[in-house]
């Protein structure tokens, strides 16, 4: 009668509590995995948003678009060359590492820095249309990871030039 031990009820309570605790822990890990994916997606949205703002800011105050020419037919190109607000010639293009790169050609010609600036990583497409002289549409597409089944996210923006010199 003096033996120490667990009653069936106590064990049942301990098992139930342990199960709840285990469920919580596994839920936390599952949630962490999901939130990692969400954070990555938020990161991609953030990159898309920031690069889109940077590009549209530069274009909005640009005095001239050098390439492509205005084409009301809706033809699209993969690069754009323009003069920025400081009248430097700037080109935007995708490099072979799927990075959207800004090339400051004036700095290159005058041997100043910076020449290349990476705007976004993991960018699978950059398309530009110029339906009118002072109007540009561009579309950025990024991929979540290198997996073929990974999701793609795109952002389209359009800009009217405010500072065109004629």
């Amino acid at each position: 009668m003096n033996r120490r031990g667990l009653t069936f009820t106590e064990m049942l309570v301990y098992v139930i509590l342990f199960a709840i605790f285990l469920g919580l822990i596994s839920g936390i890990f599952t949630w962490m995995r999901h939130s990692q994916g969400s954070v990555r997606r938020l990161d991609i949205f953030h990159q898309l948003r920031v690069s889109s703002f940077q590009i549209s800011d530069q274009l909005a105050y640009a005095p001239a678009i050098i390439f492509p020419r205005a084409d009301p037919g809706g033809r699209a190109w993969n690069q754009i060359v323009f003069r920025n607000q400081a009248n430097e010639v700037v080109a935007l293009f995708l490099n072979q590492k799927n990075q959207l790169v800004q090339l400051n050609w004036t700095n290159h010609c005058l041997q100043r820095e910076p020449v290349f600036t990476v705007l976004t990583e993991d960018t699978i497409r950059f398309r530009v249309k110029r339906p009118a002289e002072s109007y540009v549409e561009f579309d950025l597409r990024m991929k979540e990871g290198k997996d073929a089944k990974a999701r793609e996210f795109s952002l389209t923006n359009s800009v009217r030039l405010r500072n065109v010199i004629r």
């Binding site: 509590l17 050098i66 993969n78 690069q79 060359v81 490099n95 072979q96 010609c109 005058l110 004629r166």
Partner: protein
Amino acid sequence: MPSASPFAPVRGRRGLSIPIAIIAGGLLVVMINALSFYSFQEMGAVKSILARKKAEYLAHSGLMWAYARLCRGRWYQPPGNSFGNRGATWKWCHLEEPDLSNGEPNGSLKVWFDEIPSKHTLKLPQGRGFLKQLDHIKVLALATQGGEKALVYGKFIVSPEPILNSDSTEGQAADTPLEAEQGEEFGLEIPKVLINAGEEGGADESKMQVIEVRKAAGSKVKKGEIIAVLGSYFIKPYRGLSTQRYMLKAPYDGVLKGLTLVPGTDVAVGSRYADFKRDPLQSNTDVTLKKMVRITRIPLAIHQGMDLKVIKNRYAIFTYVNGLTEEYVRNYASVRDAASSLENVFEDAPANLSEEEALRRLGAGRVDQSADLEGAGKTFVNDLMYGFSPPGGLGSTTRREFPAKSEYVLGVQPSEISGELKELLGLIGPLHGKNYLDMLETKPRKNPDLYKIASTTVYDKSMDGDGISRKDKKKGTDDYIDDMTWLQDGAKAISVTLNEGTPWEPGPFEDLVAAGTIKREDYFFWPSKNGYYHIPSPDRVQIKSVAVPYTYENSTPGGTETGEKFRMRVDYLMGYFKKHYDEGVINPPADELRAEDDISDTPQAPGPPDVTGARMNGISS
């Protein structure tokens, strides 16, 4: 001791379930809070970005609203100008708070206008003084939306420059030296007949018929209004009135005096048909270019905490923008021909390029870092001249083709002095030991191609050779613009005054000579007047070389709102280009109000008119 009942509580034994539950619950709460915090932070960042964008768009709307209103005039100034509205008080600056938020809550907009005077002035006739002119108007639009602020700067430029103390943004052209030589009152002459022998046969070059007279003597006219309609005569293959019509138009705003045309009668080509008195201020120019340029978003760090109602604070913003100007112009001029060499650079490029491939396609660029700010400015202005098309609704194809139809027309066309003056110069020249008729030669007479130049390339070469003025470091942009506008020795202004003695008919002349009252050698005989005139001293004969400006013309449809040909004097057009970057003098006024122009009510010059007819004038070009 074991308890008696199996249901009695077990004392003395401790468990971990409650602490574990508390720790697990705590960890869960922390993680949920972290995720919420991150999400809300992200939402907050997006909300802030959206509010900042809305504020920026609202500021831009304010700038465009200001542009549309300024194109119509300066409503915030007293009516008229300081020449016609004496005693009015004019403003240096003005604040408006338009409601453009379109129902968006928590939005507000303030727009400031600051007028910057030009260094040019308009000379009033008869020495009555000068009128100051307006260089440009600086516009600041401050928008607030959802707690975020955006400040945008714009510069409203106008060319030709309007009168500063006025409510107008229409350009006020200054007199050219030729117009100043011509004076306020001058004669209007019947123009030459245009010969079109190939189509209509030979025309009578000596006279025309007055078909219709639309204005009466003494009437006020506006520049370009038709005064009368004339018709020319055929002489072969048959005689009679041709279908060709000549519209005599008022050359300026002014008053028509002493009109001698009568419908149905003939008038001699080159004869004077009316006197014209030009208004001291012309109400219009052919066209005024207006544009909002240098639109710049001012970083928050520059204007945070600034009260923009204070003039000095606004001028601090203008000083910041001025600091960007040198970089703007130098970057443009440092790498030449970017637009033409890069316009097809990526035409057939693949979707992905290496950095090396991109640089290879763009090329090395034509670098020119030798220019200082003035040199860079001259390059900038010169380039814009080649690619000019007016602001407005031209289609992209029309805009590309507009520069190809550029023409430059000299401010005078071939013209002769009157036969009478020519005869006079021929008579007194040998008496002075000079060939006055040879001295009438002008540059365009020697090279008739100078009267009209049909391309910007040829014009640039004619006026500036291989960039002599543009590359001359001693010459600023204003000097370069003058060199590109004015053709030196474009015309000759001739004036002969015969007031040193009374003219005599032959009979009385011989009597006076015989009586010893006058000496024969002091006089010359004028055959067409059949009289003897006292030989004028050489200083009574003036043949002055006059610089004549070129006017840019372009007949591309759509160049002007009225459908007329686009026309603007070259210095006004190049001044318009210069205003794209030149911020002018950044000197804040002491007060918001300014004094009016100093204008004399009493004419100071040139003195009483010549009522004896002793003075003969002419322009030769």
